[in-house]
């Protein structure tokens, strides 16, 4: 589908709605992660509302693409995006992390139709995505149009299993596989380059025979273009290193690693919601 200016504007609004939902659900839950979900909201919006072949009314659709969220702790974003796409009622987002909820603290595949994997323990998502891409290659060969997407954090680039999976994908030349790294430079203990330096990430991935694309993770057109370009790469899997701002959309939260693993309290949520609802002051009041 063509990405017109009109559609781009709608997608930006959608991303803003999703960020608003994230704040609302986190303050209700009283625990959970804030920075990562806000930072990846633009990418999730493009994936679910533009790039992914899927049908929320038919989660088991035979020819659907697959989306593997490896860093399961940003699931408030996954749930919010799925709800806005129609996988579950938006009202259900308020049940996040509560007893009996389909929206577990970290995703549990069997609980919510549309979740492709359970996740949370870092460094395991790419392996599963590689398995899915291999299955598609075994069944449909090199001409398959199915895409397997895997979303990872930058922190989990410290996990050895990530590199085991990267090596195999390079060896098997999985052209149907696209991974995204949320390069927001933070993790629980601090800034990534203080905890465990990751750079140069791009060179590391090139070394394992991946096609590397670096983008501004908040530029909707760049995000959509990167996914589109990956389709033209034949002999290699593609990694999109998305430079993002953790906490994006709420000035008070942005770039502060302390927002990695905690939710806003009621007062902080009020500030955040006011900022999101007025699009950072671009519109005059949150009632418009």
């Amino acid at each position: 589908m063509e990405l017109t200016q009109e559609k781009l504007e709608k997608l930006r609004e959608k991303a803003n709605d999703i960020r608003t939902s994230i704040i609302e659900m986190l303050v209700e839950a009283g625990s959970g992660h804030t920075a990562g979900p806000l930072g990846m909201a633009d990418i999730f919006t493009i994936i679910f509302f533009h790039t992914l072949v899927h049908n929320p009314k038919e989660p088991k659709l035979e020819n659907r693409d697959r989306l593997v969220l490896s860093n399961g702790h940003i699931c408030p974003l996954l749930y919010a995006t799925m709800a806005h796409a129609g996988y579950c009622p938006i009202e259900e987002l308020k049940t996040l992390r509560k007893y009996g909820s389909r929206l577990q603290g970290h995703p549990w595949r069997e609980r919510l139709p549309g979740l492709e994997t359970s996740s949370g323990p870092l460094g395991s998502g790419l392996s599963q995505a590689v398995g899915m891409a291999l299955a598609d290659k075994i069944d449909h060969g090199l001409t398959s149009s199915r895409r397997i997407y895997c979303l990872m954090s930058d922190g989990e680039q410290e996990a050895g299993a990530t590199w085991e999976a990267a090596m195999l994908a390079g060896k098997e030349r999985l052209r149907n596989l696209v991974a995204v790294i949320d390069r927001n430079n933070i993790q629980i203990d601090g800034y990534t380059e203080d905890v465990m330096p990751l750079e140069s990430l791009a060179e590391k991935w090139r070394a394992w025979n991946w096609h590397v694309i670096e983008i501004d993770g908040h530029n909707m057109e760049e995000i959509a273009d990167a996914f589109e370009k990956s389709k033209s790469i034949f002999e290699r899997p593609t990694i999109i290193i998305a430079h993002t701002i953790p906490g994006k959309g709420v000035k008070e939260f942005e770039r502060d690693y302390r927002w990695h693993g905690k939710p806003p309290n009621k007062d902080e949520a009020k500030i955040a919601l006011a900022e999101l609802r007025t699009l950072g002051g671009k519109i005059r009041s949150e009632h418009q």
């Binding site: 697959r66 595949r109 996740s119 998502g125 790419l126 392996s127 599963q128 398995g131 299955a135």
Partner: protein
Amino acid sequence: MLNPRLKLNKNLFEEKVEQIPIRKGYGEGLVKAAELDSRVVGLCADLTESTQMHLFKEKFPQRFIELGVAEQNMAGVASGLAAMGKIPFISSYAVFSPGRNWEQIRTTICYNNQPVKIAGSHAGISVGPDGGTHQAIEDIAITRVLPRMTVISPCDALEAKRATIAAAATDTPVYLRLAREKTPVITTEDTPFKIGKAEVYWQVDNPKVGIIATGALLYQALLAAKEFGDIEVMNLATIKPLDEKGILEFAKRCQKIVTVEEHQVAGGMGSLVAEFLAKEYPVPIEFIGVHDQFGESGTPEELIKHFGMDKDSIVKAVKRILKR
């Protein structure tokens, strides 16, 4: 006497009883399972011949994936393949899989509920000369605690073949526990096998003790029974789900139980039997197995004797329990 219904190997107690490695039965079973179902795929971590997966690889090269020394990745990749409708078998040494990759098995296979089949070769101390690093004697404990996991420990190569074919047909994760060395062939092509069904291999009229054995040590238990008399021997090939009905009947008939396994006593098959009987029908139990130690180098025979798991040690345990 040997249970006639089970059509066991008549030459079992001959000096020249046929010996085949249990892992070989797995390799042959996997080929058969792959012939029966095109969804079967095989994954290996640089131990293709040693785990006998090379038989599958030669016949189905398009369905074989070599991952290199990367067992954690192997579990996750298998989960992804299963999510797309495949029936993946993953092969390595049990120390590495389900050992090294336990968390990936827990989260990506069991919690995800994907029907991946994990074949752990070189289980037990009878691995021999390789020494303690390569002797998995904790693998039953770490797999039986996982919800949804089926745990099977075949007694010989033919049972391993049948278990492998049966495992491919279930929709659950399965752990197949396999031994490295040649061991006596106890069963025949005609012996029945069903996941979850324990069978009494050696029967007597008025048993005083019942031995429950799993894996290749079943042979030592049968030797002990033949020598001592008044003993029945059960082959508990499926450790989980436990054949509760079969074990209850066995305990009621025998009144005293000796469990035999090439594994840590803590958390192993004997523990599982004890947990069940403590609740349903408490009887005295003696546990043959490794007691909170690591393995070491030696021949299988030397090690089985050293760790008190040979025929003589089993007879001693029977005598002990008769005094209780």
